[in-house]
């Protein structure tokens, strides 16, 4: 591309007075063969343009590198967040299981305790029944006064008869409950 003399003069003047020169690839297609001054002007503009481009390239590369770094950090952060969520979910599941186990254990202990109480109570009643019967029989054999022991024996037998079904029912209930827990 050829420029007229006036344009060349104007361009050189603007460059010298204001420091404003042509930029970019237009510099590569302007013909400067016939005018050494204009050739120098174009060379100066090219050098300035190259310096600016080098600076910009350097800065752009730095920004690119920082962006990549940030991307990597973000990716790592996301992975950590994901792992944290998974860990939290596992902890919650473990907590639920532990609470369930504790509940089952408590119920089992309660059931065992009830079972023991019922057995001991049954043992005591039966023992009292046996002892009272034994004492009543002995009193009858040796012809002693049986009024007191007779009423005691009758009362004990009454209690045994009255509560027998309820005690047996409780035992059956405890056994049924224990079987269910085992399952």
């Amino acid at each position: 591309m050829k420029l007229c003399k006036d344009t060349k003069k104007d361009l050189i003047r603007i460059f010298e007075t204001k420091g404003i020169g042509l930029e970019g690839n237009i510099l590569k297609i302007i013909d400067t063969t016939e005018d050494p001054n204009f050739h120098n002007y174009i060379e100066s503009c090219k050098n300035k343009d190259n310096e600016n481009r080098k600076k910009r390239l350097e800065i752009t590369k730095q920004i690119q590198a920082k962006n990549k770094e940030l991307e990597t950090i973000n990716e790592e952060k996301e992975v950590i967040m994901e792992q944290l969520k998974e860990s939290l979910s596992e902890v919650e599941k473990a907590k639920e299981i532990a609470i369930n186990d504790l509940d089952v254990l408590q119920k089992k202990k309660q059931t065992e305790l009830i079972g023991s109480i019922v057995k001991i109570a049954l043992g005591v009643i039966i023992s009292v029944g046996i002892v009272t019967t034994f004492m009543y029989v002995i009193s009858l054999i040796i012809n002693k006064d049986t009024q007191m022991i007779g009423s005691t024996w009758a009362n004990t037998l009454g209690i045994l008869l009255t509560n027998a079904f309820s005690i047996i029912g409780t035992i059956m209930g405890v056994k049924y409950s224990s079987n269910n827990n085992k399952e």
Partner: protein, 144 residues
């Protein structure tokens, strides 16, 4: 020097890097940059149907184009087999997967330039080989 270049890459910052590197290395006089393969395909279709005004001499395509309907290899295949060919075309990507390179070769890519912080030496080497790509005598080459 290459008359006109086209870069299709979804990363804006790389447009600036590529433009400055090409200018500093005197690779090309004019550079057109696009962000999506859809836009590039539309332009090549127009050039194929209505004339080649403004059609670039050489095209650099990124492999993965986020926000586009198809990737760089598919774009190269379209340009070579649907829109009349006649351009030097290749991939510019940070990937160095032999499998992808083989696919690109099948699609008609002539070169594969690996993006990195130092792109200039690879572009300079490409500039030296360019006449061979234009005359279709150079084999597919990966610039590492």
């Amino acid at each position: 020097m290459i008359e006109s270049l086209m870069l299709i890459d979804d990363e804006d910052l790389f447009h600036l890097v590529f433009e400055d590197a090409c200018s500093l290395l005197d690779i090309s006089l004019s550079l057109k940059t696009l962000k999506s393969s859809d836009e590039a395909a539309r332009l090549f279709e127009e050039w194929h149907k209505f004339g080649t005004d403004g059609k670039p001499e050489c095209v650099f395509v990124d492999l993965n184009l986020i926000g586009s309907s198809f990737d760089g290899i598919e774009l190269i295949r379209k340009i070579n087999f649907e829109f009349g060919n006649h351009v030097v075309i290749g991939i510019i990507s940070s990937s160095n997967e032999p499998e992808e390179q083989s696919k690109a070769l099948q699609a008609g890519a002539q070169f594969w330039i690996i993006k990195s912080d130092e792109i200039e030496p690879r572009l300079e080497e490409f500039k030296k080989d360019y006449s061979g790509y234009k005359s279709r005598t150079n084999p597919f080459k990966v610039y590492k």
